[in-house]
Amino acid sequence: MAATSSDVQSLIGQKYEAGFITDIEQEHLPPGLSEDTVRFISGKKGEPAWLLEWRLKAFRRWQEMQEPAWAHVDYPKIDYQSISYWAAPKSAGDGPKSLSEVDPKLIETYNKLGIPLEEQKMLAGVAVDVVFDSVSVHTTFKDKLAAAGVIFCSFSEAVREHPELIRQYLGSVVPQHDNYFAALNSAVFSDGSFVYIPKNTRCPMELSTYFRMNARNTGQFERTLIVADAGSYVSYLEGCTAPQRDDNQLHAAVVELVVLDDAEIKYSTVQNWYPGDEEGRGGIYNFVTKRADCRGRNAKVSWTQVETGSAITWKYPSCVLRGENSVGEFYSVALTHNRQQADTGTKMIHLGRNTRSTIVSKGISAGRGQNAYRGLVRIARSAEGARNYTQCDSLLIGDQCGAHTFPYVEVKNSSAKVEHEASTSKISEDQLFYLRSRGIGQEDAVNLIVNGFCKQVFKELPMEFAVEAQKLLSVSLEGAVG
C-alpha cells in the first residue's frame, strides 16, 4: 500500500479497523477479461462442461450489455481489463480438508477480524463459511449440519458434490443476463456459499459467510445460493471486510434465494467493505444483485442489511412473491460518510394472491455522503389482495450531505393496498446540546440519536450482530459532528 502521510489519513486508517493486509503467498491471474479468463477460472475449479458453457453464455451476453448509469452515484468509468479475476492463497489448492491444512496466516487474519475458525472457540450455534478473495477457505461445523441433512459448503464444493442441485437452481432466480453486473458475475464468479435446507428442517444453527478481499487489483465475484425446501427455516448472515487501499476494487456478487412452500429464509448482511478515505480515494465498488424467489405458498423471506462500508453501494435485495400468501420483508440501514455514495433499496414483485411485503429503509448521511433509497413495489394483475407497507426515513448529519428517495409503485390490481411513508430529519444542534447538557458526551449523543433512528431495523438482526452493527455505526460516524 502506498504510504499516506497526512495526519487525517492516518486517523482514518485507525478508524477502519479491518484495513490491514495479509501478507500471504497468492496465486494471481494477470489483469484482463476474455473468454480465456472464463475458461481459466472454470478449469482451475475443475468444473463440468455444462457449467463452463453456462459461464461462456453469460460472458457473451455481458459483452453486448451496457453498464447501467441510472443509479444516483458518480464514479469514473471502470476498466474491466485492468482487473484481475482470480486470486487465491496458494496453499489453498482445492480447499483444505481440515483446519490443519489452512494457512496459519489466514487463521490469524480471521482472528484479527474477530472470526476465529477454531470451532470450539466460536459462538455456539453459528457455522461459518469463509471466503478469502476468490476461494472459500474453510467451513465450520460441517458434521453437525450434515447430521441435520443441511448442506452448507463452498460453491465449488457444491458443484462437485451436489451438481444436480446446482444445475436445478443456479441462475433460476437471477438469470445470467439479468443485469450488467450479474452477467459479469455469472461469467467469472470464483466461489461463494451454497446452502440447502431439506424439507421440514429447522437449521440447527445460524449460518454465516465471511467475505474478505485481500489481493490488490482484484475483483471479488462470489455467488451465494440458498434453497429452503418446503417447511424449512434458516437464518443466514454475511459479513464483509477488505484492506485499506488507494485504488478502487470491484465487488460484484450475486445472491439467489429459493423459498418453497411454508419455508422461511432470514438473510442478514453487515457490510463493512473499505469505504475509501475522507477525500474519496480508494474503497470498494459494491455492485450486488440479491433476489429471493418465494415460489411456494406461505413462503417468507426477510432481508436485513446494515451497509456502512464501500465507496459506492448499488444494491437492491428483492423479493419475487409468487406463492400465495408469501411474505417479503426488507429492513435496511445504509450509512454514507465522507465521500461515500449509496443507491440502495428493494423490489417487491407481487405475483401471488394475498402476498404481503414490508419495507423499512433508514438512510443516514454524514460528511459529504450521498444516500439514495430506490424501491419498486409492483402489484401484478394476478396479485389479488396484495399488501405493501413502505417506510423510508432519512437522517442528515451536517449540511454537506444528501438524501434522496426514488419510490416506484406500479399497481395493476385494484384490490391491492399500498402505503408509503417517508420522512427526512436532521440531527440538530439543539438536540445535541440537550443531550450533552444531561451529561452525555458528543459522540455518544450522536450514537444515541442514530441508534434510536435505526432501532426498527436492528431489532430484526440476530442478537450478536445487532450489537456488532451498533458498534460499526458508531465507528463509521466518528468525527461526523464537531
Binding site: F433, L435, G441, L448, I449
Partner: protein, 249 residues
C-alpha cells in the same frame, strides 16, 4: 457554590451580558427576573455551555472550578443542570434510556461505576410517582408528542433523577396551568437541600409563591441592577420594571 464575576457575553457580535455579577451560595434559591430581552435565557444557556455564545470577559466559578472551560457534558458531570424553557424532541430515543445514559455519563465523570439497571428502574418509578408523571411517558421518545406541561414536568423529573448541585430553571413556569405549576414547584421543593442551589429564571412572580426564593435579582440590560429579599418580586409585580430602569439610568 456559583460565583459569576463581571461576565460579558456576545451573540453574533452583539453584547447581551455586560458585566454580570452573581453569587449563589450552597443551599439557596435565587430568582432572576427582568424584562424581555434582558439576557435571562442567555445567562441560563451560558451556564450550561450552549454553543453560539461568545464569552468576551469575566469568569464563572463553580465550586472553585472554572466552569467556562468545561464542555456541556463535563458541566453536567460537575453537577450543573439546566431545565430548558423549550425542551427539544428527540425522535427514536427512549426517555428512560436517555436518562440512564445521562446518569451513567455523570457517574463516569465522577469515577463511579455504571448504575445497576434494577436499582435505576426502582429510582425512576419512585420519582415518577412523586411528580405525578404518567409512567407511559417514560418509554416514549424524549419529549416527542408530550404536551407543554408534560415537557416541563419531564425536565423536573430528569432533574430529580440526576440530582444536580446547581439547577438552573429557565422559565419553567411558562406555558403551565396552575395545577401543573404547583406540581412542578412541589417537585423542586422536594429537592431543596442544604447542598443544592437553584437559579430560577422567571417572568412572573407567581412561580415564586410556590418556590420561595432566598434572594431575588433583577437582570436588565445585561447586568444585575437590583437584588433583594422575596418581597422584591411582589414589588416588581405591582410596579413593573420601569422605575428600576429609570433609577439606574
Amino acid at each position: 457554590m456559583l460565583q459569576i464575576e463581571n461576565l460579558q457575553v456576545e451573540v453574533d457580535g452583539k453584547p447581551i451580558l455586560r458585566g454580570l455579577n452573581l453569587d449563589v451560595p450552597a443551599g439557596q434559591v435565587h430568582a432572576i427576573m427582568g424584562p424581555n430581552g434582558s439576557g435571562k435565557s442567555t445567562l441560563a444557556h451560558v451556564l450550561a455551555g450552549k454553543p453560539g455564545y461568545t464569552v468576551t470577559g469575566g469568569s464563572v466559578r463553580f465550586n472553585g472550578r472554572d466552569l467556562l472551560a468545561l464542555s456541556p457534558e463535563e458541566r453536567a458531570g460537575e453537577g450543573v443542570f439546566l431545565a430548558f424553557q423549550y425542551p427539544v424532541e428527540i425522535p427514536g430515543v427512549n426517555n428512560v434510556y436517555m436518562l440512564k445514559a445521562a446518569l451513567n455519563g455523570i457517574r463516569k465523570h465522577r469515577g463511579l461505576p455504571e448504575i445497576n439497571a434494577v436499582e435505576f428502574l426502582q429510582q425512576v418509578k419512585a420519582k415518577t410517582a412523586a411528580l405525578g408523571l404518567k409512567e407511559s411517558l417514560l418509554n416514549r421518545p424524549v419529549n416527542q408528542g408530550f404536551s407543554g406541561g408534560e415537557k416541563k414536568r419531564n425536565e423536573i423529573f430528569q432533574m430529580s433523577v440526576l440530582e444536580p448541585q446547581l439547577a438552573v430553571l429557565d422559565e419553567t413556569d411558562s406555558g403551565l396551568d396552575i395545577d401543573a405549576l404547583r406540581i412542578v414547584a412541589e417537585g423542586v421543593n422536594q429537592l431543596r437541600d442544604p447542598a443544592r442551589s437553584f437559579l430560577v429564571v422567571t417572568h412572573y412572580q407567581r412561580l415564586l409563591d410556590y418556590i420561595v426564593p432566598d434572594v431575588v435579582h433583577v437582570l436588565a440590560q445585561g447586568r444585575i441592577i437590583k437584588s433583594g429579599p422575596r418581597e422584591l418580586a411582589l414589588e416588581l409585580e405591582a410596579r413593573g420594571y420601569d422605575w428600576l430602569l429609570q433609577a439606574v439610568a
